[in-house]
Symmetry: C3
Subunit: 311 residues, 3 copies
């Protein structure tokens, strides 16, 4: 819990997975696991961030990411300064840049930001003097999500290296997919993308990523299957079929899951749209679904990010 | 402030009055009184909940209930994780059940919930591992309100047993009325309901409750008179007369209050609509109105609920 | 940090500048400077307000004032009870007066209030038992802003006495202008108002304030130039020209700034509308703009107000 760990992170901000080294990722996962153990034992967690103030700046809706960050801050003893865009001066014509300079002048010890614009967290990181944790930007980066997913797989499968994970559904608009591909690339796993044509990403970013149209081919040999919600809010809705038709073609059922390895686990970053991309029988299957196991890992991963990145 | 007290509560959640024993109610009121005394003496309250995190989940508007819960948590040293439905993933098609499972995975030490649906707090209590405090659901339960009212009467009248209280106005839509009837039933008081036909409840739940149409009959022999706001948001507004006409027929004035015992006190759970169900002359009468005395009891009652139910 | 300082303030609430004595202002500025130094040295600030709860009651939008108040409370160890008008019972017909009596019954240790109505903070101060800090009301008072501006000038110019500051733009609707005129009056400075006819205040409140129509005359001999945003939300918009035309006539450029003293500094309370009342070249000029220096002073000034006014 001290200086020696902090020296070992190779970066000052948690902006995305590609900017982390393999060692950074392993350190973050290791620390998250420690926190998870402490929380489970109900032993008092060291209040390592007592006296610190975390600025949360969420310009997009969120339940789980924001709540997990706040809970993590509370468990470490830090306080929250929440910036609410809806009641802020951006309504009075202030530029984003000026808002950031102002908030930075108030001296937060870290900033957790979610923003619809691709560049926002990177821009903020350059403007401010404290660490910035990207809690999701555009369709591109969401590093704590990828760390949550990796921690879940580490616990269930013991490793990422050598694993094959299918990522299915709306890959085109998914920062979760992007970050997981990057993390599997860093750690030596393989990713199968299973998507209809209209939800296929424009390019395949890494050689360890392969593209499939059908569950039958795409799930073959997979150790994990990650389902994604259709991000209707990011697309022209006339392009997608109705929910029932989509489920018929791309919803995960037990029949389809059978194409994967017999012990393959099912992940979903949430929020789930049941009956659209995933059937209840899969989401609630205690032997296959790791979805609420992922949920359990959110606070520990956020605690690791906060205490490793904070000075 | 310790285990011996906690063992004495017969339930794990504060869901409603009927599920509490008479001893539970007395223990909660006793503890609330202790907290009230400590707060008044400005002696430092023991931070018995330091390190704890309370999840507040308010899916209906509230000033006093939510603020009192948060203030109580602060005074006991606990932190707040506030879940805001408006910026949450229920907007992205997530089921309430999944949202609750997620929030539960984040490990709150207690949940304070207000919800328009009858069953919501009970459902949550079954899903989660921590105590749930119902801060009001539907038209049915609002146990901390009934405890606030009972504490006020205990202080002013010394007892509930043997007391008669009139509850007047919109009984049909009032969880406050429901909970007070239940509490008077448990503790041996009598309730007179004074309502126009169109605001009469469908059934009378207890033998100690009697129904009246007029203040003259209903207030006779009463030690306390509780006025209720018309919950316009819960009804077809064409059914009710305009404010002036309602006041004329069912507003509490000094003339009407004179039908009760000479030392009868006036209660109102708030928010008051002055000039509708209550006249200024009554609301602000320092000798008769206990309305802001009720307000004084909200934080102590919430402190008692938090520290007795938390593990 | 103790009783001897508190005795020296002549008032119980921070409502406006005119109610403060010159000594009050100097004490507040002195304390703010101490806090600023402590924050900069990253030495642990004494948690002088640990266990205290500050009620923040913002009935108008705000980024910087509210965030600075919350950050100041956090740095002093106090907790926040935030009252959100939008989800409150004022929506259910409760009077402002009753809401305040209720919130006061919950026992906050101080109230920080922003309200569109002229009289609101004064009314609250009379109703409650704790200190009230006015964070801006109507077009009239915003004392912490004036203290921020004064602290900035003290640091850059060493004094207010004998200084001349131009306040330019929408003076008519500006509580910032009102408070700065009052503060310059108290401390012996001179103010030049530079405004178009349609943004001129109805009356000139102090003999040390003079009125000008042009930058050329108004900026002559000035040590500081404060630019104001047009408060479109407070006026009939048909009265004002479009942004480009306004900038052409009343936007601050380097050419216009040249009418002031060569070392004159530029202030702006924010939010800035760049390209309307101020050019980027001025706002971002490191030698002339003190705008983000003002930002740096917000948290220290709020810390001074909280710790000096709290009992």
């Amino acid at each position: 819990m001290s200086e020696d760990h902090k020296l070992r992170l190779s970066v000052s901000h948690l902006l995305d997975i590609p900017s982390l080294s393999r060692e950074d990722i392993e350190l973050l996962l290791h620390r998250a696991l420690q926190h998870k153990r402490h929380l489970a034992e109900k032993t008092d967690v060291t209040q390592t961030l007592a006296g610190k103030v975390i600025l949360t700046l969420f310009a997009e809706n969120s339940t789980r990411t924001k709540s997990a960050a706040i809970m993590a801050a509370h468990r470490l003893g830090a306080k929250i300064l929440d910036w609410d865009e809806k009641t802020s001066s951006s309504q009075k014509g202030e530029t984003f840049s000026d808002t950031i300079r102002y908030l930075s002048a108030f001296g937060p010890d870290a900033i957790v930001i979610r923003h619809k614009d691709y560049n926002a967290p990177y821009y903020v990181a350059k403007q401010v003097k404290c660490p910035v944790i990207n809690a999701g930007d555009s369709w591109r980066a969401h590093p704590t999500q990828a760390l949550v997913d990796a921690l879940t797989l580490m616990e269930l499968k013991g490793r990422i290296e050598g694993l094959t994970m299918a990522i299915c559904g709306d890959v085109a608009h998914s920062r979760v997919a992007q970050c997981n591909m990057a993390l599997f690339h860093k750690l030596g796993g393989t990713v199968h993308l299973v998507t209809p044509d209209y939800l296929r990403p424009e390019k395949i970013p890494y050689p360890n990523v392969k593209l499939f149209n059908s569950f039958e081919e795409g799930l073959k040999g997979c150790d994990a299957v990650m389902m994604l919600r259709i991000q209707k809010e990011r697309m022209d809705q006339s392009l997608i079929p109705d929910d029932a038709a989509y489920f018929n073609e791309y919803g995960l059922t037990h029949d389809r899951l059978a194409f994967a390895k017999p012990d393959a686990v099912v992940l979903h970053p949430g929020p789930m749209n049941r009956g659209v991309e995933i059937a209840d029988e899969v989401a609630d299957d205690p032997h296959r679904s790791a979805i609420f196991h992922q949920a359990d890992n959110r606070v520990p991963v956020n605690m690791a990010a906060l205490d490793l990145f904070l000075p």
